[in-house]
Symmetry: C2
Subunit: 312 residues, 2 copies
């Protein structure tokens, strides 16, 4: 691991499945490669990756595959937080050994109403067990889904104990006040705050933040990365407005099936629409709504050509 | 698997840990054996087992260990429902191959607000993949923790498709109206309804239900099993009242640490109080409150002697 910290735009990479729900490895590699080519980092195994619908072994194999395929480990921030601390340790250690730029770590999310002390022990035990200066943890705060969140007090305590290993956070609270508090309290000390979606990208960068990790990076990578790179230009607000317009269409539907459906349609590859249970693909009506919504704003997926006509 | 269905009282078996958070296998086996001796079935890997704090491999090993130690597989109902369908299939298949009497299956619980269709596909895919008539699934409805629940409509649909494999439910909603609806709609067809705690044991049995699967079975096994066996006797209401009194003391505190603390104290074995993050053991004040609360109702753990003085 170098001293180059991860910045800019990353995406929780969609995980493509075959109709029998097995992972489509060729589609996965091709999609990752296309994101990297558009300067979007690989936050594989995020919420929008259906990561919690994958077993540890599946995740290990996919990470190994990306490395074998020569994709840059410095641009990888795999999700490695699980309910079981033994799982979190296993996958995190593997990511560190592969040289991943960082890991994005959910708190254990089964038990609800747990204390900051319990969450502190979770992260501390993982860090102490792995005991490797290369480990860079980005905390993952997503209370709408995980229900268990990362408080400002917890960040402060972890940073104090493990300044080398606690590298930043993805804030998917959807609450700008919370992001701003993190930017104010912790970013100056080098704790990198990533917005949880591109909706807050410009605001986050203007307040000194590191970038964003966003689902729609899967379908609109070039434009989001462009704003990440040119946010000080005069047209930044116009760029942000266009990003919001695109996101708005996807956000009206269940996001994961909608993004997969859009890729399937534009790449003419129906397999791309498969999601694992408990998710379900879009209904025909929803798919039609998505199609007309995207047409109405004259939007096409950047990387559809790169993904097209792939045999599993 | 025989035609003998599981009935009566089971307990989500507490998982004892060593101070370094590794599983204490000798304590686990000894505790399981003591429960069986008191006629309490082994719902290992339940919520109160900290099951979601264990990896799949840890669960496989523990189940193998119980079988190797000669504990009766017909009395085992391991929790095998995970967020990832691949994990659920792996552990469920293993349980079936070992001859477990049933499995208790959480729905995938990371993604919130999922549809009944998505949950149906989860269970259907697991059943279709394992394709074994010996598989007996007890659905696990625990919305306060999992947030994702099992609706009456979902039960009806699953029962219709898989009458051989869908064996019953544990209702940990804490909502008697819901339990009663299941008892009325599905129990007559042989779908066995287990109350989620002994608080509802007598009511459940009087309405034709199968029994209960209860956390406090870990600390009050004989008395709960006795009511399960003698619920038609004249003193049943008095028995229920006493069970409620005991549960009331534990329920005032975080249940898992409280039960472990009580066993640690009575067995004079401090290691028993260890919980894995994100849970934390009782504070000294809480432990004192528990001790005085149990003393005030003159309660001693049945099986403390069986568990005492065990070296890890």
């Amino acid at each position: 691991m170098t001293n180059t910290k991860m910045r800019g735009v990353l995406s929780p990479v969609l995980t493509p499945f075959n109709p029998d729900y097995s992972v489509s490895k060729p589609r996965f590699v091709k999609h990752c490669r296309s994101l990297i080519e558009q300067d979007v980092g690989l936050a594989v195994f995020g919420t929008n990756s259906e990561a919690n619908s994958l077993s540890i072994n599946e995740k290990r194999q996919l990470l190994d595959l990306l490395v074998d395929e020569g994709l840059p480990t410095q641009k990888m921030m795999p999700g490695t937080g699980h309910c079981a601390i033994t799982d979190s340790i296993e996958l995190t250690r593997h990511a560190v050994e592969l040289g991943c730029g960082g890991v994005l770590m959910l708190p254990p999310f089964y038990y609800k109403g747990v204390s900051d002390e319990g969450l502190y022990r979770n992260y501390a035990t993982i860090i102490d067990t792995i005991a490797d200066a290369r480990l860079k943890i980005y905390l993952y705060h997503i209370p709408p889904v995980a229900q268990v969140g990362i408080s400002l007090d917890l960040i402060e305590r972890l940073l104090k104990s493990y300044p080398e290993n606690i590298a930043g956070i993805k804030d998917s609270s959807g609450n700008w006040d919370n992001t701003l508090a993190m930017l104010t309290q912790f970013q100056p000390a080098g704790f990198d705050v990533f917005a949880g979606s591109e909706s807050f990208l410009l605001q986050t960068l203007r307040h000194g933040g590191a970038g964003c990790i966003t689902a729609t990076g899967n379908v609109n990578p070039a434009a989001i990365a462009h704003l990440g790179a040119t946010w000080q230009d005069d047209d930044a607000d116009a760029q942000q407005a266009r990003l919001n317009e695109v996101r708005g269409v996807f956000q009206k539907l269940p996001m994961i099936p909608a993004m997969k459906s859009a890729i399937a349609a534009q790449a003419q590859d129906p397999s791309w629409s498969v999601v694992r249970p408990p998710l379900v693909e879009l209904t025909q009506e929803q798919a039609a709504q998505l199609k007309s919504g995207l047409a109405a704003i004259d939007f096409q997926i950047d990387n559809a050509n790169a993904l097209a006509h792939l045999d599993a």
